[in-house]
Amino acid sequence: MSTDDVMDLEDRLRAALAARAELVRPEDLGPVAPVVPLRPRWRSPWVLLATAAAVLLVLGVVLQGLAPDPRSDDVAPEPGPQVELPQDVGRDWQVRSDSSPAVLDLDGDGVDETVRFRAEETKDFDGRIRLETTLSTTGEDAYGVARLSTTIGTYARDPIDADGDGDQELVLPFDSMGGPGEPSYPMVFDLRDGLLVQAAVSDPELLLMGNTPVDGGRTPYYELVRSQTYWFEDGSLYSGRSVNAFAEGPNMTATRPASMVFDAWRWVLDAEGVLRPQDAGCVAETPRGAIRPCEPGARDALPVLGPEATEFFGPGEEFRWTEGYRYVARLEQQGEPTLVVQGGDGRTLEHPIDVADPRVMTTQPTRIFYDGASVVVRSATDPAVFQVLAQDGDALRELAPVGDVPLTTDASHRTWLTTDGALVTVVAEDDARWRAYFWAMVSSTEMVALPAGEVCFADVTDTSTARDC
């Protein structure tokens, strides 16, 4: 091809890719995962069976192949002198190319074993996993069966020595497939009598990763949750749960502080094969996300409330947004003021502006709505007035404030838009304290203020003076 041919083809390719990609519009996407209450893991038949397995181990009984649904090759957890799964369960399952074998010293002889993961083939990739290895000490095979959330991409986390016996336990992550925000947890497998047996967990609600609901924390528009996490340090498994709760709203919105303080536990495997938590004190996230022991006075990061966005355009003017969804908006004032938005995908949207002497902020309220046009309109003559518009398919819709917090500025409230697209309202409390809220969309026509913590100001009109109270 000549250079001109290549350039023509490149241009044609760029145009076709852009055209095809932009056929996918924001409203074509399926709904985002909703906030759903977490079913306590102790109610899970899997955990109950795993607990039964641990108890039977104490009695010298070995079982495995536990699964939520009965299968012909499962072993019923009935008392018996020695219950064993047939050795060939899963032996013919394939090792998927997207799985990574685990390398750890299962038998404690100083030589690592390699554990392969054979996946049971099912239509929905939700089958069981056969864990198998050859022990370096005896040359014998060891195996186990696990049920993870998916058979795709099986891999192990850091090995641990939770019982302090000098060998290592295998840790596999159970990743909830319920979507981002759904808690996940680690599954620990210990080598016992040639079998890799999953350890039961005495307090499973403390060994999670994700956001978990606070009892009594559900409101009509959001839910209070705590952040939970787990990590590995010096061959041990630790978990933490945030001391404070934060709000989680619909549409994947949350007001989690940038860093939080956690209660921590170190997990120890006892002789009965049960993982039990030991108090590990207080830990805190660093700004870069690492976990460190708490310094004196450690607390959650303050919500970032500024700087305040101040740029706007008025009647007869327009502004072009070039990041994310690209669009141009102009404020027409022939009779009733009207905002006219021309999207990069060729759509034109209009909406009347119900604000005296309107000014449209040139910072998009991306923390409210990102996948399309959205604007905050203020009044040049009345600082108490705000109007928020967001695109809903081929229309602009006004988002009405719902809940207890008013969208206004007066003696006990102050509302502003930050330069990073957050719409903030602070509500005065006692002793110069203010309760901060971030506005979040709850439906195509409503938004609610999510609580984001307490803050004090030297001057509430200057966001840079925000500080701990």
Partner: protein
């Protein structure tokens, strides 16, 4: 002071901010919207497994892009295995949505793109839609920059050839 609403370091915010763009990337690699949404959902699920990536938004986004490309490739591989009885050049008819809306000149390019080898298609999509540099594509696909350059060059030649075939088929 921290950096604001957890949004900037929270996977939920990444999801809200980048889901559409990632679905658009995925749809260029797997053709249909439902598969593309699945690919992106899987990518976020994979990201949730690696909290160390979640804590650094810039790494997380790069991770998501790589994950989308890899998951899309796996999805294509599964689909091709399922369609093993079909002629190898049969890429299936364009979706109704695409036929109805996509201009003919664009439709031909997209159909031609589907006839390329997965790696060639990935390089072209990352280069001409995601606007990544050769170095960024090399990092995303875990190949050398030289391989990116040669793959892109061969992919354009193959694309041109496919386009001529499609135009010939339509003339007949």
């Amino acid at each position: 002071m921290g950096t604001g609403v957890e949004a900037s370091v929270d996977i939920t915010e990444l999801y809200a901010a980048h889901r559409l763009a990632l679905v658009r990337l995925a749809v260029l690699l797997v053709d249909d919207l439902a598969s593309a949404e699945d690919v992106v959902q899987d990518a976020f699920a994979a990201l949730a497994r690696r909290p160390e990536a979640v804590r650094d938004p810039s790494r997380a986004l790069a991770y998501l892009r790589v994950s989308v490309v890899n998951t899309a490739r796996s999805a294509l591989r599964r689909r091709r295995t399922a369609r093993a009885y079909a002629p190898p050049r049969d890429t299936g008819p364009p979706s109704p949505e695409e036929s109805a809306v996509l201009a003919e000149e664009h439709r031909e390019v997209i159909v031609a793109l589907r006839r390329l080898a997965p790696r060639q298609r990935e390089v072209l999509v990352l280069r001409y839609w995601s606007n990544l540099t050769e170095a960024e594509i090399a990092a995303a696909l875990d190949i050398s920059q030289g391989t990116v350059k040669s793959t892109a060059s061969r992919a354009l030649v193959a694309l041109q050839k496919s386009l001529r075939e499609i135009e010939g088929e339509e003339e007949r």
